[in-house]
Amino acid sequence: MDKAMRVREICDSFRELCSVPYNESLQSYKNDGGLIIGVLYNQVPEEILTAAGILPVRIRAVGSQGTEASDARFTQVNCSLVKHFYDSAAKGRFDFIDGLVATNGCDHVRKLHENWTSVLKPAYSHLLCFPKRQGDDLQVTQLAKEIKKLKESIEAHFGVEITDEALREAIKLHNRTRELQCALYELRKGENPPITGAQMLAVMMAGTCMPREAYNAQLEELVALCQDVEGISDYKVRVVVYGGEIDSIDFFEAIESQGALIVADSLGGYGKRSADMQISLEGDLYTNLANAYLMERPAEPRLHGTRAARWEYLEKVAEEANADGFIQVFIPICDLWGYERVMFATEVEKKDLNCLVLDTEYIFTASGQTRTRVQAFVESITEGGR
């Protein structure tokens, strides 16, 4: 088969996996007796679950049709993401999970976890308290303690032992995933990126909803193929997307349909930030996990004291990918990303950057509006607007 075709085929299969909460891969894993834990947001050190022989699956309310079930548990002040997540959970769309692990990632998510746990009563539930600032040894020690608590809780509930050896193997496996993902990001920096931003999003998300060994094997193949395909040239501008837990492939496609090729991103949930770290295998593994998740991984607005570092990272990503502009994305009612937008606007102004701000509800429906705004943005760049 032609290499480009095979690349498309792999990306399509990843996309297929991401199109429903309980995909075929997960179904066959469960049918073979596998255990699955649903994970809320990207701060959970999933290596612990892998070391326990449990598959961590990131919760996504893909295909959610409404939020009625959330109305009794949340109000107008809560974001659409948690409402869709809760609604899907209440309607049984995540009934395949054997437990739930969350962090206090934001005020909404911690309440999502609390309501889900007390009302919908998953068989197992744990909240890992993640420090709210990057800091010093106090915060790293605190997080290491929290990770150990998660380990003990998993061991007690599932009757398993998480040995250091198993954890080491798990870290290696996850490190390999991140390494391969970064390799793919690297290839997208070229003039003719081998895959689109929408395809890359599917690649990243697939890694969170299928067994990891199988994922790594496919990713390995994809990276090899991508080194050798012609790549995309029919675009007008190169953009970097900046945001949090964006998981809508349709949204990315709407952006790219206007000639704005997403060549890089600084996305936390399913983007480069989630892949851009390696966890050390030397010394105490729990401290290493804490150190990597808190101090080494490119930070989010949720981690206080990281503002300058966040933008430095974003600028580096943009520069390396030779981007023409930024598209900042956020979900309304989200204070974390809402204020990041306000602050980033000062940087945009100071440095005279090309930047478009798009808001989207968790379930993306504003396709026409998005296309129109991106089209205008593209024109402003190509016609030398800024």
């Binding site: 107008q76 909404h108 709210k132 206080h304 004291g305 503002r307 974390l336 809402g338």
Partner: protein, 432 residues
């Protein structure tokens, strides 16, 4: 001599005006007008101290109400919460309108928006150091970072304390350990030193204040309520957490005055409202309009009193002053487990529910108002629990969406209409 932002001098005039308005009756009859007079006087003292600090180019610490201000006072450092004067003086300035013109997220808390706008507008003095608090809401953390993008605020040394999620001794100790680091940080950046004996004296004064505050609350539990809607919560919250120089014996005297006045009125069976009919729990902070703009209407129309709120919910433990460690532990407990709002918003829903339950019982409450403040995203996720609790207690619950710091979000007249409908459903008729 440096000049403080013009706004500070204007605040001083506002408080002087308040003192003048309450001076006569204060001398003549004492009671509530005297407390109001003292409240203005202490607020003026705070503003003057701020002005003097800026004019003399002395170190100025920006804090947030979960930070334990006893530490700054023991280091002889002038401190202030950047919104603490914008909020009570709101009716005298166009701050809310100006805030609306700013690009801060319209769906976030007006307190945060005012703090960011205030720094940008130059009405807040630029602090020497910032000690931030990352609880109780997401926006606070970002607010501190947003200040870093304001011209003149770019390179201010900042330390922010990470709140744990739990309530146990281990969690408190984690916070206490950070307080120790905060002291080192302040010593390094301000040149002021910690005086542990002074901290001991201050903590003892704080213990006294809290004991008086407890007495006040005990009086609010009686029928009729000795103070007007949310007054006690407003005064206590302001003096204990915002314009207070901890350890100032005048502030202790203020709390004593509140306690004695309340006790006297209770003893004589005098209520602030002549014909008290309905007792309401305002299940949030007071905010900036509920007391003055909603309270009088409720009282006059229905004889309904908002007896207390989370701002007045202060089950403070006594700070053990025997060693520096025990003091830091006691202060940490106060900062994360006891201070209003942080107490209810941090961690799980349990404290929030327990507070509502206890307050409904203790204050002989007839109904709960839940303002679903648009900044309190966590409380939005508490709504199901609150409904269940109120059903269980057979307690009427009114929920409405508001911004407790921005009266334009839910116009007061609209809210009055909502309340009237709710009262009618309960069979509570207007007095006349």
């Amino acid at each position: 001599m440096a000049k403080a932002p013009e706004r500070l001098y204007q605040y001083a005039e506002v408080f002087k005006g308040g003192m003048a308005m309450t001076a006569e009756p204060a001398e003549a009859v004492g009671g509530i007008p005297k407390i109001m007079h003292e409240n203005f006087r202490l607020a003026l003292k705070h503003v003057n101290r701020l002005i003097e600090t800026v004019e003399n180019d002395e170190p100025l610490v920006s804090e947030w109400y979960g930070n334990t201000c006893e530490i700054y006072a023991a280091m002889d450092l002038t401190h202030f919460c950047p919104v603490d004067l914008i909020i009570p003086t709101r009716p005298f300035f166009d701050s809310i309108d100006r805030m609306h013109e700013d690009d801060t997220p319209a769906d976030s808390c007006a307190l945060i928006r005012l703090a960011v706008w205030g720094a940008r507008a130059g009405i807040i003095p630029v602090p020497t150091v910032v000690t931030g608090m990352l609880e109780p809401c997401d926006a606070q953390s970002l607010m501190h970072e947003a200040w870093e993008t304001v011209p003149g605020w770019e390179n201010i040394p900042t330390i922010s304390l990470d709140p744990p999620y739990g309530y146990g001794d281990e969690d408190i100790q984690y916070f206490a350990d950070q307080l120790k680091r905060e002291i080192d940080f302040l010593e390094e950046h301000t040149g002021h030193k910690m005086d542990w004996d002074e901290l001991r004296r201050i903590c003892e004064e704080t213990n006294k204040i809290n004991s008086y505050w407890d007495d006040v609350n005990h009086c609010l539990m009686q029928k009729p309520c000795p103070f007007h809607s949310l007054q006690a919560a407003e005064w206590g919250w302001t003096q204990a957490l915002h314009v207070n120089w901890p350890g100032d014996p005048e502030v202790t005297e203020f709390f004593k005055l509140m306690a004695e006045t309340a006790a006297d009125m209770v003893e004589k069976g005098i209520g602030a409202v002549e014909n008290e009919q309905v007792r309401i729990l305002w299940a949030d902070l007071n905010g900036s309009w509920a007391e003055a703009e909603l309270g009088p209407w409720l009282e006059e129309t229905y004889g309904a009193v908002m007896v207390n709120s989370f701002a007045g919910r202060t089950p403070y433990s006594v700070i053990d002053t025997s060693t520096p460690e025990s003091m830091l532990f006691g202060l940490a407990r106060k900062g994360i487990n006891e201070v209003p709002m942080i107490r209810q918003a941090r961690g799980t829903v349990d404290t929030f529910l327990q507070d509502v339950k206890d307050m409904c019982r203790d204050y002989q409450i007839d109904c709960v108002f839940f303002p679903n403040h648009k900044g309190h995203k966590d409380q939005g996720g508490n709504i199901g629990y609150l409904r269940e609790l109120c059903r269980e207690m057979e307690m009427p619950l009114l929920t409405f969406s508001s911004d407790i710091f921005d009266p334009t979000f839910l116009p007061i007249d609209e809210l009055k209409r909502i309340i009237a409908t709710f009262f009618e459903a309960q069979g509570w008729k207007p007095l006349k």
